[in-house]
């Protein structure tokens, strides 16, 4: 068994602009009074526009064959700031379907379904504002189209969380929901984001600011500076994955670990495991190895670190923008790791599974020792008390309770919204469902048993069996779009399948029976697995 030697390869996934390019960018809304809807009266589909009372631009597409069912789309996370230096521009347009895909819009309107959505009044972490906007928008639509009978909410990422919260808070408005790779409650989501950011800063570049950004443009520039530093870190880690060298910007603790022979890839992998990001990514499966003597060593020692790196590069833009947005909205940091024991965030299973990647137990112990809260070289983040109080007082924390028929679509290795978010939702629902069955059995004593209806179907988007590829000389080949990896890595076929299921549920009041027998189900690498066991977000398992 020999350690593989390979040249570092320039992956496309690490650059300052690519870290941000996937974000939806929307301009700040300015209107303060609801307007519209103003309809063009076109046939076969008329378009109506207007603004809600909080200034969100909205749009409606209503077919002449309107059958009384309307879908309301919630888009994903958008930057709250204009950031031209990173190639971002401001756009406040309404979104009525995933990426406003005209094929999907036509697919729905051809069925007689109306399609609506807004751009929301504010971006960033906007769950509370967006639920209010959606509530108002449904009212506006119903007032205009009085034969409306059913409302189906759908959305992905931030919009997935908004959709779930909307259905949770307003089951009287929502007949069914399609929730795709949703965000978790902010407490859980922020821990995931800021753990990643803080751990990277702590070991690889302590000059990163991360907290205490100034307001306005100055803060924008500070955050841009951080983005560039994170980009430099990730590039350095990628370049040295074989040698194990640490970035030159590393902290004293990091350099001490390097001096003790711990490769930077082990530290990177440990950061990923502590935060809870998947170690399987679009290019790296942790299973296949090159057809060389490294066939076993590669997937054990290198692939998990590279998978973590690829996934971190996909989430870090969201993480930084989200963290800064909340700092701005709350007037300070509401993240606090001043007493966090990071050693408790490494599961026993991860310690065993990734042991070779960590370089052994001694290396794990050495790395964790530098994360001691008393280490002066690893200064912790202390939350701002006022910001924390404001956060708790004003932010709705979704419970994940399922009150209307809900179809969830989730990628098993989503780097932005880990699978554990949906796993928790599913686990809690199974508890509720079991309780409902017990209640039905109790009621059976007097009125006969009536089985409760299952309200949640989770469709997992899973990976192929193996997918990593190598050149003849053993170099890894970058792969884009592997099913079950990446953020919102769904096709039009996925969206059609999910919204059709939700529409059926809205129509019948129950989830479609045996979704998995649909012919396109397996082709899309979907599975329904009520025995899945993805780890919940660390917020729930370590706090």
């Amino acid at each position: 068994m020999r350690t593989p030697t390979f040249k570092s390869r320039a992956f496309a996934f690490i650059s300052a602009t690519s870290l941000l390019a996937a974000l939806v960018v929307v301009s700040p809304a300015t209107a303060a009074v609801a307007t519209g809807p103003t309809c063009d009266g076109a046939t076969p589909v008329q378009k109506c526009t207007g603004t809600t009372s909080d200034g969100a631009l909205y749009e409606m597409r209503v077919p002449a064959t309107f059958n009384g069912t309307v879908t309301i789309w919630s888009h994903g996370f958008g930057s709250n700031t204009s950031f031209p230096a990173a190639g971002l521009t401001i756009d406040s347009s309404a979104q009525i379907a995933p990426a406003n895909n005209p094929v999907l819009v036509k697919y729905l309107t051809d069925k007689g379904v109306a399609v609506i959505g807004s751009g929301f009044s504010t971006q960033g972490w906007n769950l509370d504002e967006a639920v209010k906007t959606n509530t108002e928008l449904v009212g506006i639509f119903k007032a205009k189209f009085t034969d409306t009978k059913k409302v189906v909410a759908w959305g992905y990422s931030m919009g997935g969380g908004i959709t779930q919260a909307f259905a949770e808070q307003h089951p009287e408005l929502v007949s069914a929901a399609a929730v795709m790779n949703p965000v978790d409650a902010w407490d859980a989501q922020s821990k995931y984001f800021v753990d990643l950011l803080w751990l990277l800063k702590n070991w690889f570049d302590p000059s990163i600011q991360l907290t205490g950004y100034a307001a306005g443009v100055n803060g924008d520039m500070q955050m841009l500076g951080d983005i560039q530093k994170y980009t430099a870190i990730l590039k350095s880690l990628q370049a040295s994955v074989a040698t194990g060298a640490w970035p030159t910007t590393s902290s004293k603790s990091g350099l001490a670990l390097q001096a003790n022979g711990i490769p930077s890839r082990s530290a990177l992998l440990l950061i990923g495991r502590l935060a809870g990001i998947s170690a399987q990514s679009s290019s790296f499966d942790g299973i296949a190895g090159p057809a060389t003597s490294a066939v076993t060593a590669w997937p054990l020692a290198y692939a998990p670190a590279l998978g973590t790196l690829e996934n971190i590069s996909a989430v870090i833009g969201y993480a930084l923008l989200g963290a800064r947005d909340m700092q701005s909205k709350m007037g300070g940091s509401n993240f606090d790791n001043s007493t966090t024991d990071y050693s408790k965030q490494l599961s026993a299973a991860d310690r065993a599974i990734y042991n070779a990647g960590f370089s052994g137990n001694t290396a794990i112990a050495g790395m964790l020792s530098t994360l001691n809260p008393l280490n002066p070289d690893a200064p912790r983040i202390k939350a701002d008390a006022a910001a924390l109080a404001k956060s708790k007082a004003t932010m709705y924390q979704s419970t994940g309770k399922i009150k209307v028929p809900t179809v969830v679509l989730m990628g098993q290795n989503d780097p932005v919204e880990p699978a554990g978010i949906v796993q928790r939702m599913a686990d809690l629902y199974e508890q509720d469902f079991a309780a409902a069955k017990e209640a039905a059995k109790a009621a059976n004593q007097s009125s006969g048993y009536v089985a409760p209806r299952r309200q949640l179907a989770v469709l997992w988007s899973v990976t192929p069996k193996t997918w990593s590829k190598f050149t003849a000389d053993g170099l890894p080949i970058p792969i884009a779009g592997t099913p079950g990896t990446g953020h919102t890595n769904f096709t039009a076929a996925h969206y059609k399948f999910v919204i059709d299921a939700a529409l059926t549920a809205a129509s019948t009041g129950a989830l479609p029976y045996k979704l998995e027998v649909n012919q396109s189900f397996k082709k899309m690498l979907l599975t329904i697995d009520r025995t899945s066991a993805y780890a919940w977000m660390k917020h729930y398992t370590t706090n």
Partner: protein, 431 residues
């Protein structure tokens, strides 16, 4: 017919009718996954190819050989056993996928003989066998963590724990090599951590002149084993323990030969078989000490060895009958007994209950007791010591007389075993 007789008949008819009604009211017994009236499907995932497969890859063939023999003799309660084998390359992610496929696609009734500490931890964590009630019997690992029945309610291990092994090793070394400088090379993971517990002052109480923890895979890096050997030699080590995998042992003994470092070698049970990696290296371990819970595979008088060898020659004729074949056939032999004990109405819960209630008394080739019970999912609990002969086989001595020791994973004493092994059933078929 008298009125009394007529009344009796009516009552009997009513009772029969009531019985029929109650029977028909019962739900039909749902068929257990992987079980039909004529077949039982089992699954195993382990490394079959690649650098980590040597030795282990002989287990499934041997298991199948015994199952085929049982099938040829009527099966288990009329059911023929099939074993679905999947190669995981010793990769946890592949083991997870294999197990998911075995359960979800191949629809196996139970897992048997899966191999590896990390792989089985990964499977337990991701596939959640416990919550799903799926048995994973006779796992080939000695990691003490699996002895947590709450965490692994449907799993059972086969090997003595690595803590036990280190405790026994400590006693042997203190008795055999008193006052010698003892050094330790161990794998820097859960496997090695278990050993450290077994060696510590509360357990084996063995002190080391020098010890080195090697991260898994580092043994294959050029120059690294030479550095280990250099440190041990410089420390004046006289007794050298290698508590690692076979490749670590291989590279270490090769480096030692190069450096003319010639201690008394004590090789852990997991990593002693370097001949399976490269038969030409057998001379490097001649005279080295190791341990086993099974009889020596070349024991000419052991009835289990003889019977398994005979069956193996018929049903796995192309493969060599060696220590791996013996372990594989013994695992299959245990599996058949567990299936029989679970009864004709075979269920997963019934299989687990059968192992709990009767597993400790199953006939088997092991020279130490099995410890399965309602509170223990641990297999064997001891070892005998022997040395490798010129053919590379571990033997206790020239007369094949075994001195067997037993202990626990706690602070219990190491004792000479008084265990009396059950006789091999007639024809090698469990009663």
């Amino acid at each position: 017919m008298s009125s009394k007789a007529r009344r009796t008949l009516l009552i009997v008819q009513a009772v029969i009718a009531a019985g029929a009604l109650s029977l028909s009211a019962l739900p039909a017994q749902a068929a257990e996954v992987g079980v039909t009236s004529s077949a039982i499907k089992l699954g195993i995932t382990l490394p079959m190819k690649g650098s980590a497969s040597y030795g282990y890859n002989q287990l499934p063939g041997a298991m199948k050989a015994y199952f085929d023999y049982v099938n040829a003799n009527g099966g288990v309660n009329g059911r023929k056993i099939t074993l679905v084998v999947k190669d995981d390359g010793y990769l946890p992610k592949q083991a997870i996928q294999n197990t998911q496929d075995l359960i979800g696609k191949d629809k196996v009734f139970a897992m048997v003989g899966a191999l590896g500490t990390a792989n089985n931890q990964a499977v337990a964590d991701a596939v959640n066998l416990g919550r799903r009630g799926i048995p994973s019997l006779f796992i080939n690992t000695g990691f003490s963590g699996f002895n947590d029945r709450k965490a692994y309610p449907t799993s059972s291990t086969l090997l003595p724990s690595y803590v036990m092994e280190a405790k026994l090793m400590s006693k042997y070394i203190k008795e055999t090599y008193a006052d010698k400088k003892v050094c330790l090379l161990y794998q820097d993971d859960d496997f090695g951590d278990d050993a450290l517990v077994g060696f510590d002052k509360d357990h084996g109480n063995l002190t080391f002149t020098s010890k080195i923890a090697y991260p898994s895979l580092s043994q294959g890096v050029a120059g690294v084993p030479d550095a280990w050997v250099g440190k041990f030699k410089a420390a004046g080590c006289e007794v050298q323990i290698v508590f690692g995998v076979s490749s670590a042992t291989l590279y270490t003994v090769l480096a030692a030969a190069k450096a003319q470092y010639a201690p008394k070698w004590i090789l852990g049970s997991v990593g002693a078989d370097i001949a399976s990696i490269n038969p030409a290296t057998t001379p490097y371990i001649i005279g080295a000490t190791s341990m086993s819970f099974m009889p020596s595979v070349v024991d000419p008088k052991d009835e289990y060895v003889a019977k398994f060898k005979e069956i193996h020659a018929v049903y796995n004729a192309k493969a060599k009958f060696n220590s791996w074949a013996l372990i594989g056939m013994n695992s299959a032999f245990l599996t058949v007994q567990a299936l029989k004990a679970a009864g004709k109405n075979l269920t997963r819960a019934g299989l687990l209950a059968a192992l709990d209630s009767g597993g400790a008394k199953f006939a088997n080739a092991g020279l130490v007791p099995l410890n399965y019970s309602k509170t223990s999912n641990v297999g064997y609990n001891g070892y005998w010591f022997g040395k490798f002969n010129t053919a590379g086989d571990l033997v206790p001595n020239d007369t094949f007389t075994y001195t067997v020791y037993t202990t626990d994973s706690g602070t219990g004493a190491v004792e000479k075993s008084t265990y009396s092994r059950p006789d091999m059933p007639a024809k090698g078929l469990p009663n």
